[in-house]
């Protein structure tokens, strides 16, 4: 009965039914709480993860639809001790107030940087158009993503 999915490079199993949104499996079965429930409607972006590199709204993605896809969550990018360049840039720009939207911002930005390593301010704004922030931290978020692109280009 158990469903097996591949998350952050590791095969994990869950007792969830196949129609269960991936979000609940990540949070409640795998204890990966970085992806957030915001709307359950794919409108806000807080639940975003990467599925084979593509930014995906986990709140509306049935876990049974994933097959062997590689799922990456924000926990898979880096840690406090060893942050990904994006995570480091968000810290350097102090790009959070409440921070509830930040998971989605970073995961969508990861997809963007994979396709366009040195995005402009406008590129970032357009890429993040479907991600809602309520605290008004947008400009710092954009600055962090542009900065991460520049830092990664230097390496």
């Amino acid at each position: 009965m158990a469903i097996t999915i591949k998350v952050n490079g590791v095969s994990r199993t869950s007792p969830a039914e196949p129609d269960t949104p991936l979000l609940y499996v990540l949070r409640n079965d795998l204890f990966l709480a970085g992806a957030k429930f915001g709307c359950g409607l794919a409108q806000c972006g807080a639940c975003t993860v990467l599925v084979d590199g593509k930014a995906t709204r986990s709140c509306v993605t049935p876990v049974g639809s994933l097959g062997n896809a590689e799922i990456t969550t924000i926990e898979g990018l880096g840690t406090i001790e060893k942050p990904h360049a994006l995570q480091k840039a968000f810290i350097d720009e102090q790009a959070a107030q409440c921070g509830y939207c930040i998971n989605g911002m970073i995961m969508k930005a990861k997809e963007l940087l994979d396709q366009k390593p040195q995005p402009t301010d406008t590129d970032v704004r357009e890429a993040l158009a479907g991600h809602l922030c309520r605290c008004g931290t947008h400009n710092r978020i954009v600055a962090a993503v542009v900065r991460a692109g520049k830092e990664m280009g230097r390496i």
Binding site: R27, E75, A96
Partner: protein
């Protein structure tokens, strides 16, 4: 402590948090804090929580543990208080642990709201920590046989000039903090600050950007189950019947919980609870409550309700100015606005050995506990509320309501921790909104083109129905239980801070002036505190009308404001922002670029902010874009420049979203804003660039700033739209439809 341990990967309640928007509103003058006169009153929140060990404890390792009754809302308060404690204790910040509000452990400091946390909790901690440090130094002085004033302290090491040492760890055995604070020990002067005053990076951000457990939504407890609630189609409905037999047999369902018209479900898994909620909602039959008002006439409807009228801010010139010049009048409106937290409200509750424990993102754990005590009919000693951060709230969202919901579900399944997160539609349809308001102004010019007379009226519901702000019980489910406990009559918030009348008294120097606050007790739509309370609407009206009067006087809006202001700090922020934006008097506006200016001093007590906004307007759609905003702010002594800028920026962007897009949709059948499609907010490509400059005044008292930019931002945008279009729009929001209609 009987609380179960939170087990989700080392979740710790005492995680120190961030430092956004810190302005420390304690007095710079230590003497002012010392309680002068014959019956000294302890400063800040010490007055209600006198015991030193309620605030500070020193461990055997010499490290400090700090308890505050204030809570982290994403504004960075825990880091700010942590900085203050480390500063006064002379400990490295890493040796200071701060714990947020918990009714079992913390001083009762009421609500975390209204930019009061630093003034109350910060002052208490500043004084208490200074006193504890002094007690430790006295112990060391006795041990070393030297005068206390010959000793210095560095990171918990007390030392003589010839390097004889006693550490806090060595002194602590003789330290007794189980006594009342005296507030007789002066805290450090600002000139000696090493930690306070720095742009310290927020401690919570690394965890937030790496997916570490942060929020109440993330709590995972062994044996935890999941709850959901089913709310009626509209306010005041009663549950006639529900076929729960079918739902009880659904996979994973543990219990359907009904108490009068409160309906919920508990299931093993979250997705099972969500499916059970859907099934319950389908089968529930409701006797509908009263219809809502017609949204087309909402402002007229509110004005038609009984009101309590209060006259404030009266100024009368000795000889009433003759009506030498022209006069003008206008009416402005603001719709109901939603808090719109990105994460719907959440709580985890467990009934364990007869005691109810609730993890909550409420802004006031003690007031919430009192509501739970009433609703659950349990003694206060058996109800514990522990704060854990939630999604940003910007006032009273569903945090308190979901806590009672979770407790009602937990009571039905004893010993099982129940996690309940509201669904998106629960939050949008049931949160208490920021009140709709109307503002009317009438003014006349004298022969010199100066405002001679100013008459202002506003109509508003209350701006606080928080727990404990009225009699009765102010949490949603209490009104729907089998034995309902309604809230009491709403009460206004007195001047000078004010509620609906916040910032309704202009700071301009008008010789004659009168403000009438029509306080409307009846609330056809649920309302409570939303960031700035009435200030957003009042500054919109006042600052729009100042521009209208400037136009009548053929004066430049910047010069016109300056000519009516005496306060040099008010003038300075306006002059500063005009220079930043390269404001030019007499510049013509066009749809390609309109420009507006605005100014306010928040609550007439806190930060001065002046804003200039540029707009561009699409002729065919009427859509307003705001490419750039400038702001100049004076918060007195700047404690953390980056944190202050973050708050000013955030306030401008949130205000721009309210101003251009937002209103709660409803019709007679109920609330219609249920998701982000029916309540659109500003999106990334439309967010203005924001440039903020600060005027640092190290010799002035620091002023609260978190809400300071929202009023000035709305009026600057409205004035820019008027400049661009030549049409004055007086009803918010300034959405594309309205602008297109105005353009004709």
């Amino acid at each position: 402590m009987n609380a179960p341990t939170l087990t989700r990967r080392g979740f710790t309640q005492g995680l120190a948090a961030g430092l956004g928007g810190i302005t420390l509103a304690f007095s710079l003058d230590p003497a002012e804090l010392m309680g002068q006169g014959t019956t000294p009153r302890l400063p800040g929140s010490l007055v209600n929580n006198k015991m030193l060990d309620a605030w500070v404890r020193i461990g055997g390792d010499g490290n400090a543990t700090i308890h505050t009754g204030k809570v982290e809302l994403g504004q960075g308060i825990l880091t700010a208080l942590w900085q203050i404690a480390a500063e006064e204790l002379d400990l490295a910040p890493s040796r200071v642990m701060i714990f947020s509000a918990d009714t079992a452990l913390s001083p009762n400091e009421g609500q975390t709201a209204g930019s009061q946390s630093i003034e109350n909790s910060g002052t208490a901690l500043r004084m208490a920590c200074a006193e504890v440090r002094s007690m430790l130094v006295d112990i060391a002085a006795a041990k070393l046989g030297v005068p206390a004033n010959s000793l210095t302290v560095t990171d918990g090491v007390i030392m003589t000039a010839d390097r004889l040492k006693v550490t806090y760890a060595e002194a602590v055995a003789q330290l007794d903090l189980n006594r009342e604070a005296t507030a007789k020990v002066p805290p450090k002067p600002a000139s000696a600050h090493k930690i306070v005053g720095q742009s310290v990076p927020r401690l919570d951000i690394p965890g937030k950007v790496t997916g570490r457990i942060t929020y109440v939504q993330d709590i995972f407890e062994a044996g935890m189950v999941h709850g959901r609630v089913v709310r009626p189609p509209r306010y005041g409905s009663t549950l006639e019947s529900v076929d729960d037999a079918a739902v009880r047999s659904m996979p994973g369902v543990i219990k359907v919980v009904r108490d009068g018209s409160f309906l919920g479900v508990v299931a093993e898994r979250e997705e099972q609870a969500i499916k059970a909620r859907e099934a319950l909602a389908k089968s529930a039959k409701w006797k509908l409550g009263p219809e809502l008002p017609d949204p087309a006439n909402i402002h007229a409807h509110l004005k038609s309700l009984p009101s309590k009228d209060e006259v404030i801010g009266v100024k009368q010139a000795p000889a009433l100015a003759s009506a030498g010049g022209r006069s003008h009048e206008a009416t402005y409106t603001k719709p109901y606005l939603a808090h719109g937290s990105i994460g719907p409200s959440c709580a985890v509750a467990t009934l364990l050995n007869g005691r109810m424990i609730v993890w909550t993102h409420s802004q006031g754990v003690f007031p919430l506990r009192n509501e739970l005590v009433k609703a659950l009919k349990m003694p206060a000693k058996d109800v514990r509320c522990i704060h854990v951060e939630g999604s940003g709230c910007y006032g009273q969202n569903g945090a308190d309501d979901v806590a009672l919901d979770a407790a009602l579900l937990a009571r039905a399944v004893p010993d099982k921790p129940v996690r309940l997160q509201w669904m998106r539609d629960d939050e949008f349809a049931w949160e208490p909104y920021g009140a709709a308001m109307s503002m009317s102004v009438k003014a006349s010019l004298n022969a010199d083109g100066q405002i001679a007379d100013w008459q202002y009226e506003l109509w508003s519901n209350t701006h606080s129905m928080r727990p404990e702000s009225t009699d009765g019980t102010n949490v949603l489910a209490a009104w729907y239980m089998a034995e309902p406990q309604p809230h009491g009559a709403p009460r206004g918030i007195p001047q000078p801070a004010g509620g609906g009348d916040r910032n309704s008294i202009p700071l301009y120097d008008f010789p004659n002036q009168k403000v009438v606050h029509h306080f409307i007790p009846d609330m056809p739509i649920r309302v409570s505190a939303l960031r700035t309370l009435g200030a957003y609407a009042n500054v919109f009206a006042i600052e729009s009308f100042i521009d209208e009067m400037a136009l009548l006087a053929k004066a430049d809006p910047v010069a016109f404001r300056l000519a009516h202001l005496k306060d040099p700090r008010a003038k300075a922020v306006i002059e500063k922002v005009a220079a930043m934006a390269n404001w030019k008097a007499g510049e013509a506006g066009s749809l390609a670029r309109g420009r507006g200016v605005s100014f306010a001093k928040y609550k007439n007590l806190a930060t001065y902010v002046a804003v200039i906004a540029d707009v561009e307007i699409d002729r065919s759609s009427g859509k307003v874009r705001v490419p750039q905003v400038w702001a100049a702010a004076d918060s007195g002594l700047v404690i953390n420049p980056d944190g202050l800028k973050n708050q000013i920026e955030g306030g401008i962007i949130q205000s721009a979203s309210w101003t251009l897009y937002e209103q709660v949709r409803f019709d007679k059948s109920g609330i219609k804003s249920m998701d982000w499609a029916s309540y659109p907010i500003m999106r990334m490509p439309d967010v203005p660039k924001v440039t903020v400059e600060l005027i640092n005044r190290p010799n002035e008292r620091p002023l609260g700033a978190g809400e300071g930019s929202q009023g000035p931002a709305v009026a600057a945008i409205a004035n820019a739209v008027a400049h661009a279009t030549g049409k004055r729009l007086r009803d918010l929001p300034l959405d594309a439809g309205r602008v297109k209609t105005a353009l004709g």
